[in-house]
């Protein structure tokens, strides 16, 4: 079993503190509780760490935390919606009952919208207008009609239907890859990264995002609920990468994608050690 790279322990606590502040417990109420339940649930915080590491590579992560919190909030909202009975109808998430199980479907939906709304508001308040506009637009694109929403729609509508490989890639890209790329780009933008930095990081995130999703598919086939923190074999009715390539082939492709992600970091040299370790982790992960 692969464990999280050590540097995660450096980043996770400040991210956790920032997320605590992102949705304060006060004034409370079911929607806030549901938001906090999902947002603060035990998680690796891969996307938030990606924002911070990308910012560090491009100079400094001192201004990246709002973008990191926003991407985690967007991700959390997508998880709530993804688990709904009308979507994947998943009972488990992050080792706990899904939000709609815990708080009811209506509250869960409102919590998802609350998180999404707060993410954009947080960005608007944290950055100067030009940068806020760029990162907000970036995240909005990642969520929108060529991002999470489109990916989720296609995914839901494709259940029990055969998919072409290109369609499956498009779903994965929109559901996972786009937000990974947006996270890396947002980190770079917050640190004033150059165009070439952004292109390299985007390539890294694009390959890493797909690898992440392929490994997810693999874990759904080979993992246990204890390992993954969510229900397994839930994708049995869906076409996944494993459907096309088999378990070994999917693992092979995931490894190659992670290697490609690492090679895209070549312009940064040794400074990119942490991101390279993150790619290694994704390739080996069992949780």
């Amino acid at each position: 079993m692969s464990s999280l790279p050590g540097f995660f322990q450096t980043y996770q606590p400040p991210i956790a503190r920032a997320l605590e502040a992102f949705v304060p417990a006060s004034p409370g109420g079911p929607v806030v509780d549901a938001m906090r339940y999902t947002l603060l649930a035990p998680s690796k915080r891969v996307r938030a760490v990606l924002v911070l590491l990308s910012a560090e590579l491009c100079g400094s992560s001192s201004r990246a935390m709002p973008a990191a919190c926003a991407v985690e909030a967007i991700h959390a909202s997508s998880l709530i919606l993804d688990d709904l009975p009308s979507m994947d109808n998943a009972p488990l998430r992050r080792g706990r009952a899904s939000a709609h199980i815990e708080f009811g479907e209506a509250v869960a939906i409102l919590a998802a919208f609350g998180l999404l709304n707060d993410a954009y508001g947080h960005l608007a308040r944290a950055y100067e207008p030009a940068l806020a506009a760029r990162i907000t637009a970036l995240y909005a694109d990642a969520v929108g009609l060529d991002g999470l929403v489109a990916g989720q729609a296609e995914d839901v509508l494709a259940t029990d239907q055969g998919l072409t490989f290109d369609t499956l890639e498009r779903i994965h890209r929109r559901k996972t890859g786009v937000l990974f790329s947006a996270a890396a780009t947002a980190g770079a933008l917050s640190a004033g990264g150059s165009a070439d930095d952004i292109v390299a990081l985007t390539a890294y995130a694009k390959n890493l995002g797909l690898a992440f999703q392929i490994v997810d598919d693999l874990l759904d086939v080979t993992g246990t609920p204890e390992e993954t923190g969510k229900a397994v074999k839930s994708d049995a009715r869906k076409t996944t990468f494993v459907s096309f390539s088999g378990v070994d082939g999917a693992r092979e492709l995931a490894l190659e994608l992670c290697r490609t992600a690492t090679s895209a970091l070549a312009p940064f040299g040794r400074r990119a050690t942490h991101l390279a370790a993150l790619a290694d982790f994704v390739a080996q992960r069992r949780l």
């Binding site: 055969g162 072409t164 890639e169 165009a195 070439d196 292109v199 076409t239 096309f244 082939g249």
Partner: protein
Amino acid sequence: MTAGPPTGDVDALRERLRALGYLDARVDRFVLGGAATRGRAVSLAVAASLRIGLLAGVLLGPAAVIGLATRAPGLVTSVTDALVLAAYLTVPFGIASALLACVAILTAGWLARQSASDPAFAARARRAAIAAGLFVAAACLVYLTLWWRAAVPPGAWGAQLLALAVAASIAILIGHVVTISVLAYLVRLGLSGLPMGSPLSSLRVVVPLGVMALGGAMVLLRALAPQADPVVQTAPLTVVPTGVRVVVVAVDGVDVTTLTRLRSGGNLPTFDRLLGGSTAPLAVSIDRDPAQVWTTLATGQPVERHGIRALEGRQLAGVEGRVGAGSRLTTATDLLRLTRPTIASGDDRRVPTFWEVAATAGLRTAVVHWWATWPATEASLATVLSDRAILRLEQGGALAGEMAPAGVYEPLRQSAASRTARVDARVAGVADGLAPDIAAIVDRSARLDATVLDLATDAALGGQDLLTMYLPGLDIAQHALFPESPAESLAPAAAAERVRALDGYYAFLDRVIGATVLRDAPPSLVTMLVTQPGRVAVGPATASGSVLALAGPIAATGHVETMALSAEALAPTVLRVLGVPVAADLAATAADALVTPAFMQAFPVRPVATYGERRTRPAASTGQPLDREMIERMRSLGYVR
């Protein structure tokens, strides 16, 4: 299960992922990298085009050097030359490719936008992007094929396939980056729904396309390839001894009218002797470039064959090889220190001279001070005191191709003092009674000619079957005394003194030739005098013609040819007289009318197909070439500006 790659076909999935921009897409990232943060679509197109230009320049520049090296012999003399030239060529090719790519991207984008509201927009946009990429790829492929057409020898199938495979790869790569740039441009325009990836990322497309490109390039290459010359074997040259020795005296700057006038006074006995056999006018070349004209005379081939186009060339900064000179562009590049003047070199000559042919045939031959004979190469087998030999003897130091074989250098250097004394004695009185400035010109020219003649008769050269020398003094003096058309801008008295100085120079030449190469000449000696009117006689109004005169036992004494011979006739005539077979591919035949019928009968023409190409093994060289000194010398003598 679904349409798509079959389960377990990981290779197919990998291929598809690559086409969708995953796995290795470094070139794509490089091309689109500069455009990542630019706002406007046009900015993206321009930024991507600049990077495509950089990529294409880096790939096409070295490719162009290969073709250029073949088309401009002498330009690329080493790997360093090739690298420096490639660096130079990267710039224009990069700019041209960037412009082409930008036009292709914007045009394809514009065409795609025309159908933005069409339901089939995505397919059309994709087609437009592919078409733009293929257009640029085709342009690159045609260009590379045409360049390498010159570089790859006809019939060398392996080399052709390799060259064209490289060309096809470069072309497809550039076509691919243009395609992805068009797609990125359309996305930046806000047009959504475009399919991901470029088809030129997929091996399933690239391999058949590459095969088609390779086939097309092969067809193009075959269709446009120059007709290969039939393979002509250079047969060993067998000399039939004719029993004569030949001395070729080449005098530049001779005005035939003046020579005739002076001979009528009975004061030029040596010229009388040289011209007392048979004579023929030589066709006067309007182009007075001495390196070109005298190389034509020496090789029997026109400038297109021998390759020496001009005395003055240009050397690119950092490159040993040379290119032609004379354009306004080179004036500008001189000012920018990108180029510098250089003197015509034997490295640029592609065919052998008559003394090299005779030496190859086994005769003992020597040449002194002929144009474009530096660097002297021992491969020629002749004894060569090149056009830089006198400079080397003056400057001292180790040889750098100034003479060959290298063994002649030391004895010539040791005899420098006695040679100077002899030259002093021979030029004594040549400038008496002249104004100081005129006297200086005449004295300098006379010393140069006297030195050439003294070297030609130095014992270090040994006995020769063929001795050839070039005397520049009269041309130098004439050019200095009458820099423009003769006498027009001078006062009558000044012009008269200069004419008198030149008349005196003819007498000096007559005396010094007689006292050196013709002194104690055996009866079997055949002399050949060849003259050119020199640089002053520009244009038909003042051209006074050239002469080829043959004297000696085999000369058809008294014969005066009325039809002008071409300048290329000298070389075959010399070789014919020496009993060397005459090559059929020379630009002229021997001037048979100048020799006796008995000689003709005894030694009929023996043709060979060709003398082949010049052998250019580098001369043994340990010293520094006297490039700068040579330029200064040529400048002081009025040859270069």
